[in-house]
Each structure stands twice: as structure tokens, then as C-alpha cells.
């Protein structure tokens, strides 16, 4: 991790830094997946994944906030006094979260209702704060955007996997359309409820641990 960041600092801030941009992308989305490998930000991963739709919106929210805060923190990194950087980061993150929350409330009221407090809780999501602190403070803006996209994507993909299986097994539906017919499949309500979330995430992390290798492969539990 450390040597990779050093390498990134030496390249130009323009473009995707040759191969370094791709490396950052892969690092965030797969090798160091914030959710499944680093176990950060699991609160929302458990709470909103009872439907695939919710999971996707939450993933989009995190990508937006992560990219926005990374960009701003990176732009201001030379002007921020070191001692107050934390509170500055929190303020920046909160700003983007408020933006997204207001956007949801204005255009997707139902979705905003369903996600409840979990949109606001992105502020305390360790992923966003962690990336701002560990990456954006030391890297140029463009690369920080790539890092934000990568980590947001890594989070969103895992969320989508969990949401997919929970909705499929719990309600027999995907996006609200019936997939597993009620005639031969009895929906397992447990997957929609809280314990199912814990089981699903535990199994997904276990699978990530097992196949953490060359090929990303999502398996059914």
C-alpha cells in the first residue's frame, strides 16, 4: 500500500497516471475491497440490502460522496492545517451527504423514506473518512477521484451482491418482479430480516477470503 502511494505521488496529476490509475482502481475495488477485505462501513451494508434497489441507490450514494469528498480534500490538501484536518474532512463529507440527501428527498421521496437514517449515516461511514485521510490527503485530485470511484465501486458491488441474494431468497423477487415462483419456492423471510443480513455478509466475507486471488468470482451461498 505505502509503496504504491509513493509511486503515485511521482507521476503527473494529469490523465490516469499511466498504469497507476488502473492500479488504484483495482486496489480499491478488488484487492483492498473496503467492505469485504477491510471490513469498513458494514452498518449500511447490512441495513439497506434487504432489496436490490435500495442497495444500488446506497452504492450510488457512496460513490458520489466518496468521489466528491476525495476531490475536495485533495484540492484543499495543501491549505488545510494538519491539526484541524479531521474536522475539515467531516465537514466536507457532511456537505456531500446533505447534497445527496436533499436530492433524494426532492426527486425520489419513496426511496428517501425507505433508506431512512442510513443516508445521513454515510457521514460516519469509515470508508469515506478513511479514503480522505489515507489517500486524498497525499495525492493529486485526479488520482483521488479514481480512488473514490474505485472504493465506492468496491462497496457498491458487494452491496449489490448481498442485496441480490437477500431479495431473491427472501422474497423470491428481483427489483420487485417475481423470479422464483411461489408455486415451488417458499420465500425464506429470514433473509429479509436482520439475521439474514448478518449471515449473508458473513458468508460473502468468507467467500472473499477463500477466492481472494486472480479471478473475481461471486458465488451463491
Amino acid at each position: 500500500m505505502a509503496d504504491k502511494q509513493l509511486a503515485c505521488m511521482t507521476c503527473s496529476p494529469r490523465g490516469l497516471c499511466g498504469g497507476k490509475g488502473l492500479l488504484t482502481l483495482k486496489d480499491g475495488a478488488w484487492t483492498n475491497n473496503p467492505l469485504a477485505i477491510q471490513i469498513l462501513g458494514i452498518c449500511s451494508a447490512l441495513a439497506v440490502t434487504n432489496r436490490l434497489e435500495n442497495s444500488l441507490v446506497m452504492g450510488a450514494a457512496l460513490i458520489f460522496v466518496c468521489v466528491g469528498s476525495n476531490l475536495l480534500v485533495s484540492l484543499l490538501r495543501k491549505r488545510t492545517p494538519h491539526r484541524i484536518r479531521m474536522i475539515a474532512e467531516v465537514a466536507i463529507i457532511a456537505t456531500f451527504v446533505i447534497l445527496f440527501d436533499q436530492f433524494l428527498k426532492a426527486f425520489y421521496w419513496d426511496m428517501s423514506k425507505q433508506l431512512g437514517p442510513y443516508v445521513g449515516l454515510i457521514i460516519t461511514n469509515c470508508i469515506v473518512m478513511g479514503r480522505a485521510e489515507a489517500f486524498a490527503l497525499q495525492n493529486p485530485p485526479v488520482l483521488s477521484i479514481v480512488d473514490g470511484v474505485a472504493n465506492g465501486l468496491g462497496y457498491a458491488v458487494v452491496l449489490a451482491i448481498i442485496g441480490f441474494f437477500r431479495e431473491l431468497l427472501g422474497a423470491g423477487e428481483i427489483f420487485g418482479y417475481e423470479v422464483l415462483s411461489g408455486q415451488w419456492y417458499t420465500p425464506n423471510q429470514l433473509m429479509i430480516l436482520a439475521p439474514g443480513a448478518f449471515f449473508a455478509l458473513g458468508i460473502v466475507i468468507g467467500i472473499f477470503n477463500t477466492v481472494k486471488g486472480p479471478e473475481p468470482e461471486e458465488k451463491k451461498q
Partner: protein
């Protein structure tokens, strides 16, 4: 909205609507600090105290400052600032007046600022439109519920050290699955009392 008594909300927040096992709040420190019963008891106490106090503070600020001024959309940033400031204050206070308590709780206090259970409880209080007394009951109950859950998991994890767990599942995954079982057990309380 609701006329449920504060006592009912208090009980419900511990058992049927446990903030950790049904709302998944405060998972990060729950997984990270549940290795030993002693540590988790310390963290649980600190969380209960801070959660109750910040819920009350945020109630007052929301209803007497933000609503009259029409600044409701700033609630996130105000709440998180209140929580951070309060934690800092408590830390200084405890350090000055009770060094023993400071050594017991000191290391946990900074962790609490980023514990989403704290912010989550304040947000739930707003969303569910609790009255002042109800908010106190909810804050206290949610804190105690969180502490109960983390102490339970710590006890289980201490025992699990002697069991033979498949390699990929060692550590966090098995803790997650055990928490699932715990959540299932807490579902047994459902129907006892209920809050929205």
C-alpha cells in the same frame, strides 16, 4: 406521533428494537472491540452515557434552534458537531476529575465519535418524532441495548477461541454469523412490546 410511554420505548429499544441487532448501527466498533468481556463492558458503558446525553442535547438543539430557524436540512452536520464536541468535553472532564475512570474509558472515547449508533439514535429520534421524555427513554434504552449486545458477543467470542472454525471464516466472518444467531435469538422478544 406516538403516545407510547417512555418506559415502553426504553424496554423496546433494549430488546425488540435493539439498535445493533435490528438496525445494524455501531457495527464497526462492535466487531473490532468484542474480543474480551472487560473491554466491551467499558466501551458499552461509554457508549450508553454518550448516546443518552447526545440524544437529549440534539433533541433540544433540533427543536429549539434548527426548527425555528428553518435550518432542518443542516441536521447532519450539526448533530455530528454536537457529538464530537460533547465527546471532547467528556474526555477533558473525566481526565480532570477522575483519572481512574479516564484510564478505564479514555481510549474508547475518541472511538465513539465515529460510532454510527450515536448519530443513528439522534436521527431515529427525529424520524420517529419522539417527545422529550420519550427521547430520554429511547437514548438510554438504545445505549443499554448496544452494551448488552456487545457484551454477549464478547462472551461468545471468548468461548469460540477453543473451537475449530474453517480457515476462511476465522475472525470477522464467524463473528458476523454468530451475530446473526444472536439477532435471531433477540427476534424471540418480538411481540413483547413494539415501537415504530
Amino acid at each position: 406521533m406516538s403516545e407510547t410511554s417512555a418506559w415502553v420505548i426504553f424496554i423496546a429499544a433494549i430488546f425488540t428494537n435493539n439498535i445493533l441487532l435490528t438496525n445494524f448501527l455501531g457495527m464497526c466498533s462492535f466487531i473490532a472491540c468484542s474480543g474480551q468481556i472487560r473491554t466491551s463492558l467499558g466501551l458499552g458503558t461509554a457508549v450508553t452515557f454518550v448516546l443518552t446525553m447526545t440524544t437529549i442535547l440534539n433533541y433540544v438543539i433540533y427543536h429549539f434552534i434548527l426548527v425555528p430557524l428553518g435550518l432542518v436540512h443542516l441536521q447532519f452536520i450539526v448533530f455530528i458537531a454536537v457529538i464530537a464536541a460533547f465527546v471532547q468535553l467528556v474526555e477533558m472532564f473525566v481526565e480532570r476529575f477522575s483519572p481512574r475512570l479516564y484510564f478505564a474509558l479514555g481510549i474508547f472515547l475518541p472511538l465513539i465519535t465515529v460510532n454510527c449508533a450515536i448519530l443513528g439514535a439522534s436521527l431515529f429520534m427525529i424520524i420517529r418524532k419522539y417527545s422529550f421524555i420519550q427521547s430520554i427513554g429511547f437514548g438510554l434504552g438504545a445505549g443499554i441495548g448496544w452494551a448488552v449486545a456487545i457484551v454477549l458477543l464478547a462472551g461468545l467470542r471468548q468461548k469460540m477461541r477453543y473451537s475449530n472454525i474453517p480457515e476462511p471464516f476465522q475472525g470477522v466472518p464467524i463473528a458476523m454469523v454468530v451475530t446473526g444467531v444472536l439477532a435471531m435469538a433477540f427476534m424471540g422478544f418480538a411481540g413483547m412490546v413494539s415501537i415504530q
